[in-house]
């Protein structure tokens, strides 16, 4: 077998692999990228101007002012193969808004509800439809990634998400907070413990989480 024959054999094996996305979809995705680039660059310019102005103002009013920026409490992102990744950030500055979260998941084709707790009869078992991951952070604000494989969720089923209200951390550590130069206080560390389950039409509940 010559090299050309060998390569041809391998090439023929991939003949059935085809990209089915129509060109209109690619053009629309490109337009969305362009819009995002324009938005980011215009926001960057605006933030630069505002930041300079704010820095000058803060410098004039008080040199001890502290500014903090908070990330969004959650984000939803569609991935390859109809995979949806929901990232929940454990941070004290902002907490997930359940209704908006449900709307965002519906927008990417996942039927979901946000509850205070999962159903009591929910069985803990590995699930191929939902996986849950943790991303530790040195700063202490951990992230939880809930990856939903939308194709594997049976018709009529929905995803139940719970634990989005902060609960005191198990060790009930108290930390010292200094808001202003002469204002000292103590608060309990409170953290999110997101939980997730798939609930079928018949009420069967399977949770892959802790």
């Amino acid at each position: 077998m010559s090299d050309d024959d060998l390569l041809q054999t391998v090439r023929e094996e991939f003949a059935q692999v085809r990209l089915t996305a129509p060109v209109d979809q690619i053009l629309a995705r490109g337009q969305a990228l362009r819009r995002r680039h324009r938005l980011v660059s215009s926001l960057g310019a605006a933030a630069g101007t505002a930041g300079l102005a704010a820095a000058l103002t803060v410098g004039l009013v008080s040199s001890s002012a502290i500014t903090a920026s908070a990330e969004a409490a959650w984000s939803v992102k569609s991935g390859p193969g109809h995979t949806v990744s929901l990232t929940i950030r454990d941070q004290p500055q902002s907490r997930p808004d359940g209704l908006r979260l449900v709307k965002a998941l519906r927008a990417v084709g996942v039927s979901a509800v946000v509850r205070a707790t999962l159903p009591g009869r929910c069985r803990q078992a590995p699930s191929s439809a939902i996986k849950i991951y943790a991303i530790p952070s040195k700063a202490g604000h951990h992230r939880t990634v809930i990856r939903i494989y939308a194709r594997k969720i049976p018709a009529g089923s929905h995803v139940a998400i719970a634990g989005l209200r902060p609960v005191p951390a198990p060790n009930r550590v108290k930390i010292k907070v200094v808001r202003h130069a002469h204002d000292h206080g103590l608060i309990s560390v409170r953290s999110l413990r997101p939980r997730v389950a798939m609930v079928t039409r018949t009420g069967l509940c399977v949770s892959p989480s802790r």
Binding site: M1, D3, L7, F14, V23, Q25, P80, Y133, P208
Partner: protein, 172 residues
């Protein structure tokens, strides 16, 4: 559809399957390859004026798709699975290693995915885009001599493994 869109649409129709095959053979994960290639084509459309002037626009798309795949792996590598099934998934997810695809001949797939990543990339560009050594080197940002060496090793490995597997399957 204006002239630019028509030109891009023509390029997309001609190249999309081969770009997907090359990226799929390189990273071994079909859904991830589809998403990365679609995103790479979308980026090619955003920069179409530049990409259309590229000597091999398909190579630009493949390079972008491979970079996107690496970025995706970097984002996911810090994730710690919180259930038993998740730990099994993470070992084959992203760049943990290619996954077996049911639609392909298992012998060829096993041999191809057994090659080191760079050899897979070189042979994928040669197989599906028919790029010469200089263009492959430019696309992967490596020296032409390295391309030749990788191609020779990959071809030798394919030949050896496929010949062996064919011999084993022949009746005595």
């Amino acid at each position: 559809m204006n002239a630019q869109e028509a030109s891009f649409a023509d390029f997309y129709e001609r190249s999309r399957d081969n770009c997907l095959r090359a990226v799929f053979a390189s990273i071994g994960d079909r859904p991830a390859a589809e998403d990365c290639v679609a995103e790479a084509f979308a980026r090619a459309w955003v920069s179409w004026r530049k990409v259309s002037a590229h000597p091999v626009p398909q190579a630009w798309v493949i390079r972008t798709a491979l970079n996107l795949s690496v970025s995706s792996w970097r984002r996911r590598r810090r994730e710690v699975p919180l259930d038993d099934a998740g730990s099994q998934l993470s070992s084959t997810d992203g760049h943990g290693g290619p996954q077996v695809d049911d639609g392909l001949d298992s012998a060829i797939w096993t041999v191809l995915t057994g090659l080191p990543l760079r050899q897979r990339q070189v042979i994928a560009l040669r197989l599906f885009l028919d790029l010469d050594t200089a263009s492959t080197a430019a696309a992967l940002d490596i020296a032409p001599g390295t391309v030749t060496a990788h191609l020779a090793r990959a071809t030798a490995a394919l030949r050896e493994q496929l010949t062996h597997s064919n011999l084993r399957e022949e009746p005595l």
